[in-house]
Symmetry: C2
Subunit: 249 residues, 2 copies
DNA sequence: CGCAGATTTGAATGCAATCAACACTGGTGG
DNA sequence: CCACCAGTGTTGATTGCATTCAAATCTGCG
């Protein structure tokens, strides 16, 4: 339990993230700061939670990069979302006991484990906090829907441009992106697994995007060269992220 | 407001559905029965809620069949879920003001409009009800994930077999399926739009499934001929539906 | 009956997968 | 320090699943 005066850096990241999607009162923020956290460092390419498990804590990403994925028969993998500092990718485990997918780190990552009990208690006492958490899980769902629409109906070029737009906007909302660039610590193979494409094809489409001077991307560092055209190329409209208005711009 | 003794048929359907995913106390069920409902009949192929709107009610499906979909640039459509009696497809609007997709009826449908205010009040007073509703939205999200994995990584044959398994299991859970058959009031074009396939290809795959004696399907009425083989063909495992154990079998 | 929507069939095309090398990179150990 | 190695990125050639286009049949219904 945090006994010091004021929020810890970790609690701040949680609050910063929540404030991109909901407004919190001072009282609610204070209560959030009292959430107990146990910290855990996770290596690159290591699972944090696995399908089939029944976690008793949620994990908040403090630093690093995490993805949510499922493995199908014969080893095919589908990545279903990316998560960054402040996100609680397994918040759903609060009300869905057994994990139907896994969550793994794609970069050296630090997570804060928060007991379900503490979260449940908090949500019962503070309806505004409950609303914010619930809303967070609903936005996750909105992202799944958007990805579903993309994989189902968008071309490879659109999908790749779209996912770059999405990560950029979400990173910018919590202050993790520079003016026009950010870190995307995934391989082309992993990009393929999130978009339903082969590694080879991802590679070729990325070359096209570079040729078209929409982005540069060398060793997991993305720079956006033409934000307007990139959004058009990706058929990207940030509404589905349900960010508070002042956080989108 | 329901002043009669005992639940109305409409409230019963809501409770029946919720009890497939959560357990409710008598007190909670009584409270649910007091939810105010205004009814509305919706024709086939008519929208109930549209993208961009900010509803002040949620709609529970009383009877009929409903789907959730998004329209992308140049008119492509992606259907993202199907909903049947007892479901509240726009429950998310409780905490996500503006709709990022539309919901439309695929059969003559009757819905019950329940004011957000009443739902919010109820969830605050009854944490068990809140948990059940939250869980319901989380299961929706789990279905999106499963569909995403399917569209991203499964073959056309798997996807079609899979969606048939899913609808069957969900219908059976609320008593809407016979022993081995159920109504699926969607066209092959709509099946395609939910699975990211063309109409023509859906047609051919359905013929294959019939040839393999897995299902029959004439005019929106599906009969399952070999449940075990169908599940295998669709790589279907019902875990992601998070039904209570006694409702799966 | 006639019509619109839905299903079915056929043929041609194309996007992306797969297969197979090869090049580049960073990290490790000899 | 350099050789080596595994993982990643890149390229080329081939294949194939699914799309698209087009037209014919079927179905239910006013």
């Amino acid at each position: 339990v945090n006994k010091s005066y004021g929020p810890t850096p970790e609690h701040s990241k949680l609050i910063r993230k929540l404030e991109t999607i909901a407004s919190l009162s001072e009282l609610e923020k204070e209560a959030l700061c009292k959430l107990p956290m146990r910290f855990r460092n996770v290596d690159e390419d290591t699972d944090i939670v696995r399908e089939g498990e029944t976690p008793s804590d949620c994990c908040m990403v403090v630093e690093g990069f995490v993805c949510r994925y499922k493995v199908l028969q014969k080893g095919q993998r589908q990545i279903m979302s990316f998560h960054i500092a402040g996100d609680i990718p397994d918040l759903q485990s609060l009300h869905l006991e057994v994990m139907d997918h896994s969550i793994g780190a794609k970069a050296p990552t630090r997570v804060a484990m928060i007991p379900h009990a503490a979260l449940n208690e908090l949500t019962l006492k503070f309806p505004g906090v409950m609303a914010a958490f619930w809303r967070d899980t609903l936005i996750d769902a909105a992202v799944f829907r958007e990805w579903l629409a993309g994989v189902g109906r968008r071309t490879a070029h659109q999908r790749i441009a779209h996912v770059i737009c999405e990560v950029f906007v979400r990173m910018r909302a919590v202050g993790l992106a520079k003016e026009d660039s950010f870190e995307l610590p995934v391989t082309q193979a992993e990009l393929g697994d999130s978009l339903g494409l082969s590694t080879v094809h991802v590679n070729r489409v990325l070359q096209d995007l570079r040729k078209d001077e929409l982005i540069t991307m060398r060793s997991k560092f993305v720079r956006i060269l033409d934000w307007d055209r990139l959004q058009i190329a990706g058929d990207f409209q940030p509404d589905y992220l349900h960010l508070r208005r002042d956080r989108v711009a």
